[in-house]
Structures are given as structure tokens and as C-alpha cells.
Amino acid sequence: MKKILSGMLILALMVTMLVSCAKSDSDTSKTQESEKPVDSVAPTPSDKKMVIGMACINLSDAGLVLIKNGADLAGEDFNCELIWKACEGNLDTQIDQIRGFIQQKVDAIWLDSCDVAGVVDVINEATDAGIQVLTAGSKVEAKANYNLIYPDFDDAFFAGTVVGEYYKDKTGTVGLIVGSAGNLVSEKRQEGFTAAIKNYPNLKLVSGMGMWDANTSMTVAEDIVRSNADLLHMHIIADGMSYGAYQGIQNAGAKITISANDGDNAALDHLENKEYLFDNVVGNERLGYWGIVIARRLFDGEEMATDQYLPTYKVMGEEMLTFVKDHNLTEINGVSYATVTIDEARKIVSSESYRKEFDATFVPTK
């Protein structure tokens, strides 16, 4: 028994060492991580150090990790110390973490809330204590918080409308893979897409839950393909899930169009290879960077509107871009949608570009 245990211990140490090496080696392999920042575009850091409490739902989801990367970069650029906490989707834990930040007397709290209504009281506690609170992704109706909003509903409505117009003359099924029940981002994107598809009675919508996991999304995509012989299109609400769904669609032997959301580099590769029809560029790193810029500007005394909007861009190949313009889809129900080419999208999500976009000349929503 002792011999077995000693052997296991040695093996454990060896694997730990190997993983450490693999970590540094694998940085060069094919990943969706963005390129290294270019120092020449770094803004000048402000003099006074600012401390920001970062309350996240989790730090394991690929999208949230990219948001963290962007925020950390902004922290370096703007002399901000970021304290990261993840509640793993538990509202009670998140409330405790925010109370912890209030006790620590941080200068601001950036919050990716797991429950829009559930965090209102603790946000009010923070703002009453003189701490700026910035809620990311969704509008939280507290007394004095700032909302960092990216238009999930509208973006998904655009996606649904484009799919509807694209298959206007056909009858069939459209698949939708959402994240998880109760998740606000997932629900907003689901609502937007569903609302748009309702305008096309020739299309039937079927949905599946990908649980933000590529493996589950792959299984769900396969099931949707096999259960709907007339499937025309599959929309996946996040790039991270779409790669698994794409494998599932290939595995099930379907020849359908695919669209997704986020504008990650790997998704742009799929667009380039004409495997996806279109995507929506939010740029998760860009999103993280922008949030810290807004927090810093507020800390430095700049006045701005309580609802801050991050522009998103619809990215697609040349052919699809012409289709969107020809069908007047750059404005739907009074909402304007900016379109970009794949190359432009790559620039937008690069650290060089978003550092420039949010430099001293950037004007927040007034």
C-alpha cells in the first residue's frame, strides 16, 4: 500500500510539473486568446490609484475569462487595482462578496449580477456608503448605480430577422441553442431571437439548452438536426457553445447555415471559412476594458448618463453584407445596426484597437 501511495505521489508531482510546462508551451498553440497588447497605444495611467471590487458570476466560462483579461489590461492602463470574486451563480454568495467590498471600502464595484432584482438592496447599501456601482450586461433598477449595457435583446432580434429574411421563401425549422435557464444574458438573447422569428410564420423554432458547454451544445445540436428533417438554420447564443454545436451539426451530417454571438476570434475563423453565416461582435475583452474605463472616468469626476451603451457590430462575409444592405436590415424597428467586414471585426476585438477606441478621446454616453 505504502509503495503504491509513494508511486502515486511521485506521479502527481511529475504531472503538476508537466502541466506547468504545458501551460507556457501551449500559449503558442491555436487558441482564441487575443494577441499581446501593443505598448505604443497604451494610454497614460492616472496618478491616483483606484481600487475596484469585481463581482462575477464565475471565472470559468470562456467569455467571462476574456472579459477579465480585458478588464485586467484596463486596470494596468488606468492605475486600477482589481479584486476579483466569483459567486458561481449563487446570489447569496454574490451579496456577501459585495458586502465584503463595502467593508473593504473599495472605490467602485463592477458587478455581473446573477439576479437583477436580488442585488438591488445590496447595491443601494454600496451607493449609500459612497461607492460607485457599475452593473454589467443588464439594467439593474437600484437608486444610484450605473448600467453598462450591451443590447442583447436587440442584437438577437437582428439575428432572428436576418434568418427570417434569408429563408423568407422557404418553409422549415430554425434551431436555437440557449445558455441556461435563469441566466439573464441567455434569456435576453432567447427572447430577442424568438420575438423576431415569430414574424415569419413559415419558420418553426425549436430550442435546446447548451448549458454554456461545448459538449452539451454538441449533443443538443445533434438531437435538433436528427429530429427536424426540414432544419434550415441553427443560431447559438454564444460563440463558446457554437464550436461544439458546429461539430454536432457536422457529425449529424446536416448542411445548414449557422450563426452565433460574441465575435471571438475562433468564430471569425468560422466566418472566414464560410461555416457561419454571421456573428455579432461584442468582443469580450473589449467589454471588460470598457467597463473599467467607465469606472475610472466616474472616479475622476466625469459626469455621464447612468445607462452606458457599448456599440456592437454585425459581422459577416461580403455576400451576406450585401444581402443585409439590400434588405434594409441595418435598421429594424427604429434600431440601427452597424455592420462590419471580418477584417474590421478582427481589428475591433484586438487589444490595440479597443485601447485606442477607449483612450482619452472616448466620450461616454452623456
Partner: protein, 329 residues
Amino acid sequence: MGKLKNNRIKNVEINRIANIGILILLMCVATAVNKSFLSVSNLLGILEQNSAKGVMALGATFVLISGGIDLSMENGLTMMAVTASLLHISAGEHPLVLILLCILIGAMVGAVNGFLISKLKLLPFVATLGMMTICKGITHWSSEGKIMFLQSKTVSFIGRGKVFNVIPFQTIVLILMAILAAVILYRTSLGTSTYALGSNEEAAKYIGINTALQKFKVYVLNGSFIGVAALLTVSRVGQISPNLGSGSMMDAIAAAVIGGTSTMGGRGSIGGTLIGILIIGVLINALTFMNVPVNAQSAIKGIVILFAIVADALFASVQRRKKKVNDVV
């Protein structure tokens, strides 16, 4: 000892017949709603989708029969898949590296669990809960939340290959692992000791079983099975992601319990677990075929699993009552 084992096998047979009935009923309902459910491609698809979970459920069967539980299964699977894949990429994507490392890391995680439970006498619930957190931490630390893609053709064949262009390779692995598990459970002293541990650990000690060593072996075996499941999962999806395997523990344990494995230990079978994983797989697939609203799907799945656990508890209670009556007589 032989009589006791035969009685257990009889009880398991009753459960298995009931489960086959449920499976056929589920398939009939799904086919009535959507005829393409019974297509060969869909049925083979269900087998492929659930092979990794099936292998995981086989490992869980051993742990549950021995009276234990492994809460680190899911995070363990993710950690094994992520760390082994990272090492595999840095070693030039040689498939053998991935295969061996998945199993080796799995066995190591199992060994640590086994050591904590058998030597340090920690409750399985507590020890594996700690391991769960460790695995989660290692996954995040090593992957840094990045998504990476595996390019090797062999790995892609393990994940999505078809033997004779029909049978999913993953399903062949599941069948081989099930045969291996059956041989260990029914034909070796480790199998007999596993049942003995779960039925009455004190009695097992008195008849000369080294309970600490046997428990250790059960957890190492379970870890190795999870390692194989990790290999199947990561090669199927073809990418490393820190969310791989989410929800797999629930499905694996549920499959074993639905298949007649007692959560109290001492009862269970390999055949039952295989039927259990088929029920779970068919149920998930059938919900999509029946176009059940997305938010209702997890609720229905949860109700079925809960029903199976309650049925297991009732069955165990009836068995205890019967035993008491027999003892009095």
C-alpha cells in the same frame, strides 16, 4: 456469501425488467410524436452521445455498491480532460499521450480519494467534496479559461469515428469497458469485496477482507473509468474548455441508481447501469424530438431522476422490512 449474492442478483433482475419496460415505453412515446426518433442514425447517435457518461456511470456503480459516493466525478473529468489535453498539445499532439494521461491522472485522483477515505477514514462525501474543489481549481489554473482545439486525426476518430462507417467508436469503448467492469464485479475478489463493503463493512472485516485496501482499489478503479470518460468527452467535442462535462455527474449517478444500484450500498449491477444510461439518453433525446420547451426539459429530467431515487429508497425499505420478518420467523 454465495446465497446472499444470488438474492441480490434476483432483486436486480426485477428492477432491470421494470427499467426495460420504461425504456420501451419512452421510445414508443417519442416515436409516436416524431417518427424519425426510431431512425438508425438517431439510435446510434444516442449511443454515441452517452458513451462517455456510460463509462463514468460504470465507475460510479462500483463506488455506490461499496457504500461510498464520489462528488468529484464531474470536476475530476474536466480536470483530467483539460490537463491531459494541454500536455498532449505540448507533446506535439501524440494521441497515445492523451490516452495514457487521461487514465493515469484519473487513477491518481481516485488514489487520493481512496487514501483519504480508506486510510484517513474521512467520509466519502467530505473527501470527494474537497477533491471536487481541488479539481476545479486545477482546471481553471491550467486552462486559464481558454478554449483550445485538438487537431489530431486519431483523437478525432476516438471522438467521432465510426467503425465500418456505422458503429460509433465511442460505443465500442463503452461495451469493452462494460465487459471489463462486469468481469471485475462478478469474477474477481475485488467485486465480491465491493458488495461486502456496501452490505456490511464490519462483517466484511470479520470474514478477513482488508476493507481499507479494497476501498482504495474501488476508488482507483472509479478514477480510471472517469479518465476513460474524460478521453471520450474531450475527443468527441475536439476542444478543451473549462466547462467540459457539466451535468455529467448527475447523469452518471442517476443512471446507476435508475439501473438498480443502491445509494446505501450493497446492491447494483453493470447491466442495470447500462440500461440506466440508455434511459437517461433516450429521455433527453426524446424531449427534443417531442419539441418540449427548453426550460421544461431539465425539470422533466429532474422529475424522472427524483422518481428513480424515491423508488430506490422505497425498494430498500421494503427489502429491510422483508428481512426483519424473515429474521423473526
